[in-house]
Symmetry: C2
Subunit: 254 residues, 2 copies
Amino acid sequence: MSNYETEEDFLKDYKPKEYPSNAYTADIVILTIKDGKLCVLLVKRGGWPYKDCYALPGGFVDQDETSEMAAARELKEETNVEFEAHNLEQLKTYSTPGRDPRMRVISTAYLVFAPTGLIGTPVAGDDAVEAHFFAIEDIAGFNSNNDGIRLAFDHSTILADALERAASKLEDLPVATAFLDGTFTIPELRRVYEAVWGFPLHASNFRRKVLNTEGFVEPVGEVGKNDASGRVAELYKAGDVRILHPAILRSKSR
Amino acid sequence: MSNYETEEDFLKDYKPKEYPSNAYTADIVILTIKDGKLCVLLVKRGGWPYKDCYALPGGFVDQDETSEMAAARELKEETNVEFEAHNLEQLKTYSTPGRDPRMRVISTAYLVFAPTGLIGTPVAGDDAVEAHFFAIEDIAGFNSNNDGIRLAFDHSTILADALERAASKLEDLPVATAFLDGTFTIPELRRVYEAVWGFPLHASNFRRKVLNTEGFVEPVGEVGKNDASGRVAELYKAGDVRILHPAILRSKSR
DNA sequence: ACAATAGTGTCTTTTAGACAGTATTTG
DNA sequence: CAAATACTGTCTAAAAGACACTATTGT
């Protein structure tokens, strides 16, 4: 029985008891959109285990940092880009015994939306030989024919959870603009929703909903460039609202 | 450089390298409703640190179990009730250095909704001297006057996150019925929403929305008992739908 | 001119919110 | 009886979905 008078006295004498010891890592799901397709940053593994498979970027959490800080640090190391905290969202923690065949590893996954142009050539880390964005539809398990890029560890599960979370966040948070650069057109914004949700939207109804959702976007008063044929669209920038009301609901396939 | 031909060969020779070692625990937020008030199960701490404060139930995750399994096991030990997995939801993982003054502890929190009648007298565990349900409004930091029950570690933060998640889940998942016993009345269901959301609802509009949300509740064809004056309400049971459509939105105070 | 895409307007249906009024119970 | 609570019905406004139509660009 402890008989200390104050917490300071107790802690001064405290010796850690036996407890299970675990490695703790942070994994990051960085999504972006390229050519209208939803993509995720993956690093190719150069060594065992899962040699030649692809993995989410990530690494050990140091003793003096939170998993958020570790995720932000790894992100900087992998992409040379610093992300704001509000775009770095904790997704879920994975603790299944054996998820890493080498040892017990607990991993907290984070979710980040990256604008198409911001990230240059991702930099490969220690264990990796190359890092690239891959279209989700080219990853095994995320397309109809069951081939393509193979993911290491339980990263298929993590990615699936991330995609559902991303689709859900687009509904009531103004995060779709994080995929775009400073100014964008409504059709570009619509293509973000279509890429993440995986089905086409009615262009005119989408436009009305976005403009009726107060604070979602603000007109800039210019027109964008044309990368195909057709009318040139007007430019907007992200508004300052933090919650979309009314929400942009997907109503299909839930 | 590793030159193994197969993953089996590699793992046979593998020796863990140095990595930061962490304690890993699961904490559980068990919510229930008593006398129309939202309550949480807390255990009183008998020893340092945070002696005489109250804490969420929880404990170490064993090497051969997931944090989900640990949460379910702790829950059984604390309450003598087994919960189904779909009522046991991972909330968030907390990793701030120093959150436990004794050592580095990573903790994953879980959220559970308990029916009022199901849990008898909660059983105190090893480090605890008593375990009870406390009204949220009696906990320091969750009421207007800033006194009341004091929580240990970062459990105020965890509880705040849990309450927001609970309020959000009521909107589009049929989880409010998990607070009630097998059969219930619409007014009883409404009082669950009012307790979790913290503001009163229009009784007639609430009834219409619940009945228009297909599969949320099914009539039983009897009437309940009266614990006050007024007309006796009809009984319903939980339906089989997994997502509420249309959702029961709170539209206020978000 | 024609194809393609952006944007406007309109009609219908669904849902939310407010609230008046009726029904059933207790004291 | 009055008070309290459950339930029904109705009106209005917000919002979604479908879709016809106009506007502006590239080829």
